[in-house]
């Protein structure tokens, strides 16, 4: 059984079919790439899997459970965590607090103790991730005071702090310089060993081809190709999707 199984997933925005019967699976412990031209439906795919966009048809199951109708926060707590293309950091909170809110699940009891004790949380988990991603020095800064590259790392750290089983990364390398992208690639390669499977959407072909075990290609909301990076690179449908067919060029 695969970690994530998507079958016949269809999403419509008004009359426009953004995703058309997309089916695929993500195996635990792998790094999966999802690519496609602008407007192919990559972000919609992440939105639909994480519950931010309702699916019109189809089924999403995660770790053996059907999560098709589940709320976004429930999916996140179940271990299916995403990042955003626009990062969406909590700009009012320090880097450490950005991670802290994502690290724990509240209960009625914890709310009561929060009111009674000055500091009732332990931050060992956030420390671990801050150290892993080399963010220790900026833990007390606000996201708005950081460089774009550091902000990307904070977004990633926030996704990883709850030790998710699967993390969906929406263009993590956008706006990074080559050195930062290389560091990101290193980090992604290390994640499966820590128990986190990776699905990454990006336009940086070097990154995708360099880290992924399997690559899926979306075009106009349909899955047009699947294979190893080498297979996908030479697939005529993929080349057509990116460069247009001979007839139209």
């Amino acid at each position: 059984m695969s970690l994530l199984e998507v079958s016949d997933l269809t999403v419509k925005h008004g009359g426009l079919v953004a995703l058309d019967e997309v089916s695929f699976a993500v195996e635990a412990g792998s790094i999966v790439g999802l690519i496609g031209p602008n407007g192919a439906g990559k972000t919609t795919f992440i939105d639909a899997i994480t519950g931010f966009t309702p699916a019109h048809r189809g089924r999403v199951s995660f770790a053996g459970a059907d999560i098709t109708g589940a709320a976004p926060h429930a999916r996140s707590r179940a271990g299916l965590v995403r990042t955003f293309q626009s990062l969406e950091l909590f700009d009012d909170l320090s880097v450490q607090d950005n991670l802290l809110v994502a690290a724990h699940t509240p209960t009625l009891w914890s709310t009561l103790t929060d009111a009674l004790w000055p500091k009732s949380h332990d931050s060992s988990e956030t420390r671990r991730v801050l150290d892993l991603l080399d963010l220790g020095d900026v833990a007390d800064r606000l996201p708005t005071e950081l460089s774009n590259g550091q902000r990307h790392v904070v977004a990633l750290a926030r996704a990883l702090v709850s030790s998710p089983q699967l993390v969906l990364l929406d263009e993590p390398a956008a706006g990074l310089d080559p050195a930062e992208t290389a560091a990101l690639a290193d980090l992604l390669r290390r994640l499966p060993a820590t128990g986190t499977t990776v699905l990454v959407v990006d336009h940086d072909m070097a990154l995708i081809m360099g880290v992924c075990d399997v690559v899926h290609v979306l075009d106009f909301g349909r899955l047009v190709a699947t294979g190893t990076p080498a297979e996908v690179r030479n697939d005529p449908t993929v080349i057509a999707a990116y460069l247009g067919t001979e007839a139209s060029s």
Binding site: L93, D97, A115
Partner: protein, 634 residues
């Protein structure tokens, strides 16, 4: 959207009627002479022309001075500014129009009110003319917006301001025209319905609620649907009113005040529309705009607590009865503003029903102690009741936000006021209710034995204890994960959900804590007065609480305490009264209204924010963003 819309119409109508009687223009600016004599013999025509000119001027001034600077501001800033405007206009009317306070004023109506036979019943002529007029105005407006270049440009600018600018359309000029037209319509409407609905500083202002209900039904863009909805809401309300006072309608229980039922109509319409249109999370394209003021982590809590508690304790023992009273008022009000800090400052939601929660808790506590429930237990139970109602009222907050939420809570506050707080068996109706003497562990902690002249320190210490515990609890919540989650939801609901935060629960949790605090305020209010009257909990009080909290600093506990000090009849006004010889209370609302507008535009962090940044400037600067790292490490 503008909460003060009906208030603007109200001022125009007051100005119109006053001009028609005396030929005077009542100047709505504090500091200028109260009135200017314009005409010796005003006629109906000259009075109407005068009203139109005043309305146009008012609309333009309000747009240019208040709402234009706030175009890019967060929804809350605009809500606060329009509340400021509303308060200011209400106070101007109260202060400058001699007739405003009188109970019966006969004004010469504009339209004839001869009865006309229609469909076997009689209707007065003015109602028919009004209805016809409304339809005509709607048709004209609809035609203008559909068929003229002006209308096309306005719709374009409303859809995409930047795109309109690129096409050479000036959104500014269009908005000015729209504000002027809207202001004239509001003014004329209030003038014409005066014989039917009356004209008063409080009730006329609240006409904005049914008006918003109709506009929401029309999706804020269809004149036809809005007009139909407006007429329908009005008719249903009248039907319900006529029907509930008929002696043969026995199925309505006695405890429901008959005038309250009709208030439910716009409330239900607003809730229905908002819930139907609303969404659990804002969508990908939603522009978040500017943020609320940052909420700094509380620092030096122990030092502040010891200093403030010590100061108030010494004050309670040494000060005279008048100041003791002011201290008590300020402490009780600070609980209310604390509830605003939790809800608005921390979780980014807005509620205009806080005082309604307080009212429910206040009267419930009186009922409980009458049934021999001990005072401290009644305090907690009644506040828990407020919590339950708060969560109910907050429920729409899980689907709508910003201005829409403000409208929804305002509508529900009016419903609570009319249905629950005005209910005779619950609150004693107009006569109010008196709380039995409170005892704490056998000690008499009543506020006074011989009326208002005798405010006992014992009750002050009870208030001090409750306020201290409540403030510390809120400080702790802010420092812990609960507060961080609220701030995360406030900052970005989508990201919060992605981080595993149950946004619905976080929002309702904030409503629960906030309404519990409001409940504490209501109970202490009940025990601090000889007779508790439902009029202590009018919606306008909630507006003042939100306004003063915003003014003082909406995102910190310190802000709530400062706002408490600024309360009407609190220590600030007591002090000012001493200085000025008794005038401070007169202008407190009008000035706080003005201060509110100015704060919303210029200093979103409020007074405490200004003090904090001044303090940061005074301290020697350190490398690497000292303010941020201090706030997080301290």
């Amino acid at each position: 959207m503008n909460f003060a819309h009906a208030a603007m119409g109200m001022y125009v109508a007051f100005a119109f009627f006053e001009f028609r009687e005396t030929g005077d223009w009542v100047v709505p600016v504090i500091g200028l002479p109260a009135r200017v004599h314009l005409l010796a013999r005003p006629t109906l025509a000259s009075a109407l022309a005068f009203a139109v000119i005043v309305a146009v001027a008012l609309g333009l001034v309000v747009y240019l001075l208040v709402f234009r600077p706030l175009r890019q501001a967060p929804a809350l800033a605009r809500v606060v500014a329009s509340l400021g405007l509303l308060l200011y206009l209400q106070e101007i009317v109260r202060l400058r129009f001699p007739v405003a306070g009188a109970s019966v004023v006969t004004r010469r109506p504009v339209l004839a009110d001869e009865p006309v036979a229609l469909f076997g019943t009689t209707v007065t002529e003015n109602r028919l003319i009004l209805a016809a007029l409304v339809v005509v105005v709607a048709l004209v407006l609809g035609a203008v917006f559909r068929f003229t270049r002006f209308g096309l440009a306005t719709r374009a600018a409303a859809g995409n301001e930047k795109g309109a600018l690129l096409l050479g359309i000036s959104p500014d000029r269009l908005a000015s025209v729209c504000w002027a037209v809207a202001s004239v319509l509001a003014g004329v409407a209030v003038i014409l319905i005066e014989p039917i609905a009356g004209l008063s500083a409080t009730t006329t202002t609240l006409l904005v609620i049914p008006a918003l209900a109709a506009a929401l039904l029309g999706g804020l863009e269809s004149f036809a649907i809005t007009t139909a909805a407006g007429l329908a809401i009005g008719m249903v309300q009248s039907l319900i009113l006529g029907w509930s006072v008929r002696p043969d309608t026995r199925w309505i229980p006695d405890w429901i005040p008959t005038t309250g039922l009709q208030q439910l109509v716009p409330v239900l319409v607003i809730l229905g529309v908002l819930l139907w249109r609303g969404d659990a999370l804002p969508d990908r394209a939603a522009i978040t705009g500017k943020r609320l003021p940052p909420s700094p982590e509380p620092r030096h809590v122990t030092a502040w607590t010891v200093a403030l508690v010590g100061l108030v304790a010494v004050g309670l023992v040494t000060l005279d009865s008048g100041y003791r009273h002011a201290l008590i008022v300020s402490m009780v009000f600070a609980l209310l503003t604390l509830s605003v800090v939790v809800l608005t400052g921390f979780s980014g939601q807005i509620s205009l029903a806080q005082l309604a929660f307080a009212g429910v808790a206040g009267f419930a506590a009186i009922k409980l102690t009458e049934h021999h429930v001990p005072f401290p237990i009644a305090l907690v139970l009644a506040s828990l009741l407020a919590t339950a109602i708060g969560v109910l009222v907050g429920w729409p907050a899980t689907r709508v936000r910003g201005m829409s939420l403000a409208i929804a809570t305002l509508a529900m506050a009016v419903a609570i006021e009319e249905l629950v707080l005005a209910s005779e068996p619950f609150s004693g109706g107009h006569a109010g209710a008196s709380a039995p003497r409170p005892f704490l562990f056998g000690i008499d902690v009543g506020v006074g034995a011989t009326g208002s002249g005798n405010f006992r320190a014992a009750f002050g210490f009870v208030c001090l204890g409750v306020l201290t515990l409540a403030s510390l609890a809120v400080v702790n919540l802010r420092r812990n994960r609960t507060g961080l989650r609220w701030l995360a939801v406030r900052a970005n609901e989508r990201a919060a959900a992605a981080a595993g935060i149950d946004v619905t629960r976080a929002k309702l949790g904030a409503f629960a804590v906030s309404s519990f605090l409001a409940g504490l305020c209501g109970v202490l209010m009940a025990f601090s007065v000889t007779t508790l009257s439902p009029t202590s909990f009018l919606v306008i009080g909630s507006l003042v609480a939100v306004a003063l909290t915003y003014l003082a600093g909406v995102s910190s506990v310190g802000g709530a305490l400062v706002a408490g000090a600024l309360a009407q009849a609190g220590i600030y006004t007591a002090f000012m009264n001493d200085l000025t010889g008794g005038d401070a209370n007169t202008y407190v609302f009008a000035i706080s209204g003005l201060a509110l507008i100015v704060t919303a535009i210029t200093a979103p962090e409020g007074i405490t924010g200004l003090v904090r940044s001044a303090g940061a400037r005074l301290r020697p600067s350190r490398p690497a963003a000292p303010a941020a790292s201090e706030a997080a490490t301290a």
